[in-house]
């Protein structure tokens, strides 16, 4: 299968790799450049575990044709923490017990980050809408909603993180 070179920014650092024709971005992030934070749940667009930000917008990396990120900026959970310090959203998830098995958490965090970047003071309804494409089979969602609202209340969740 023909391979194509692709260059993009991942959490602020330049990446250059080769992708197969038709390969999805989730696969390239996990196997090509070794970022294991976006999760593989369904490859169908239904679970949201693979959510990443592309130029600040939430996208399902399993449904993104990898070569389309040429020259663009991709952000994943790997770029959220700053050294030993967790991102305010991650702190709020911890405090609210918003992760049980944790499989949905990277997607939830990125969906929440996309929301807070545009809308730093969302209502509960807006939070529910923002994570409506993300499935959690453990928490019943309430803890996740509470965590996102709490992080928004702290006012510092939007801009933190690289990329």
């Amino acid at each position: 299968m023909a391979k194509k070179p692709v260059q993009f920014t991942l959490n602020g650092s330049e990446k250059a790799t080769f992708v197969e024709e038709g390969q999805n971005l989730l696969d390239v992030l996990r196997r090509g450049v070794g970022d294991l934070t976006p999760k593989y749940g369904c490859a169908q667009g239904t679970c949201g575990a693979c959510t990443v930000l592309i130029d600040g917008e939430p996208h399902l990396s399993c449904l993104t044709l990898a070569e389309t990120v040429e020259g663009r900026s991709v952000a994943t959970v790997a770029g959220l923490e700053n050294g030993a310090a967790l991102h305010p959203l991650q702190e709020a998830f911890m405090r609210n017990f918003a992760a049980q098995c944790g499989y949905c958490t990277p997607g939830m965090l990125m969906a929440a980050k996309a929301l807070l970047e545009r809308n730093p003071r969302p209502t509960r309804e807006e939070v529910v809408e923002a994570i409506s494409g993300n499935i959690c089979r453990c928490t019943g969602y309430e803890a996740i909603i509470a965590a996102i609202l709490e992080a928004a209340g702290s006012g510092s969740a939007a801009s933190k993180g690289r990329g």
Partner: protein
């Protein structure tokens, strides 16, 4: 069979490539095509992409608006001139679907999808293929023969300019909240006073979105009151054979269509 992906900067080149490609598919936002590729769908041989800005434009053309086929649901929601379509775009998937899903891709979406196209059908929209400058195909004709249109690139969709957002009403009926696939969607465009000139379209009541012609006829000249719409409700599914699938049975669809149509026409909360 490995898939081949080619990218063109110009829409005429993309149209030529698609028409001559072996098992070619045009790439919109990829939310449906990538699913197929992830499942190793063997029917796709070539993916044709196009970066021509014309696909992303929203332009005025007299009393119509031309929406580029590559415009995403998120972009529809952010465009003031398209405020009347924002409530429809908003119900398509979650935010991460909407930042990729395009208007052009929705035209080809099979059930249970195609909600945006249902609204376009109620708006009497028309479809312009690449290379056609003045002319366009009525959406209804396009949908009738949709399977045979895959070899052509849709450049844009033409809709009337609507200033009163209440003139277009839309409901997506789902069993899973907050988001689930529609067992039925209904769009009604009420351009005049009462039911005059109204257009009603259903999604997921047939293999493609369809107009509720009998209900439209019954509404002509009627007032939008319980009494005025009674005949239209009786005719809600006349001439249609709704499917039985994993979302609902034919019987259920026939039973609930008039209920949802009534709420929509009377402006009662859905």
């Amino acid at each position: 069979m490995p898939v081949h992906v080619e990218t063109h900067a110009n829409i005429s080149d993309a149209a030529r490539a698609l028409s001559s490609a072996r098992d070619g598919r045009f790439f919109g936002g990829g939310t449906l095509l990538m699913r197929a590729l992830n499942e190793a769908d063997q029917s796709i041989g070539t993916i044709v992409r196009c970066t021509d800005p014309v696909l992303r434009q929203v332009r005025s053309e007299g009393d119509r608006i031309a929406i580029g086929a590559g415009v995403t649901m998120a972009e529809i929601m952010a465009n003031r001139d398209l405020a009347f379509l924002a409530p429809v775009a908003r119900i398509i998937g979650g935010p991460a679907v909407r930042s990729a899903a395009t208007v052009g891709g929705n035209l080809f979406a099979e059930p249970p999808y195609g909600d945006f196209t249902t609204a376009l059908l109620a708006l009497d929209a028309s479809v312009r293929f690449a290379g056609e400058s003045g002319q366009s195909t009525p959406l209804q004709d396009f949908l009738r023969d949709r399977a045979n249109r895959r070899g052509r690139v849709v450049e844009s969709v033409m809709v009337p300019r609507i200033t009163d957002p209440k003139a277009l009403r839309f409901v997506k009926v789902t069993r899973v909240k907050p988001k689930g696939a529609a067992l039925m969607s209904i769009a009604a465009w009420l351009p005049g006073s009462g039911g005059r000139g109204c257009r009603i379209a259903y999604g997921n009541m047939a293999p493609t979105p369809v107009r509720a012609a009998a209900a439209e006829r019954a509404l002509e000249g009627a007032s939008l009151s319980e009494q005025g719409i009674a005949r239209a409700l009786q005719a809600a599914t006349e001439g249609l054979t709704p499917p039985t699938d994993m979302f609902a049975s034919e019987w259920y669809r026939r039973e609930v269509a008039p209920v949802h149509l009534k709420r929509l026409l009377l402006g009662q909360g859905q």
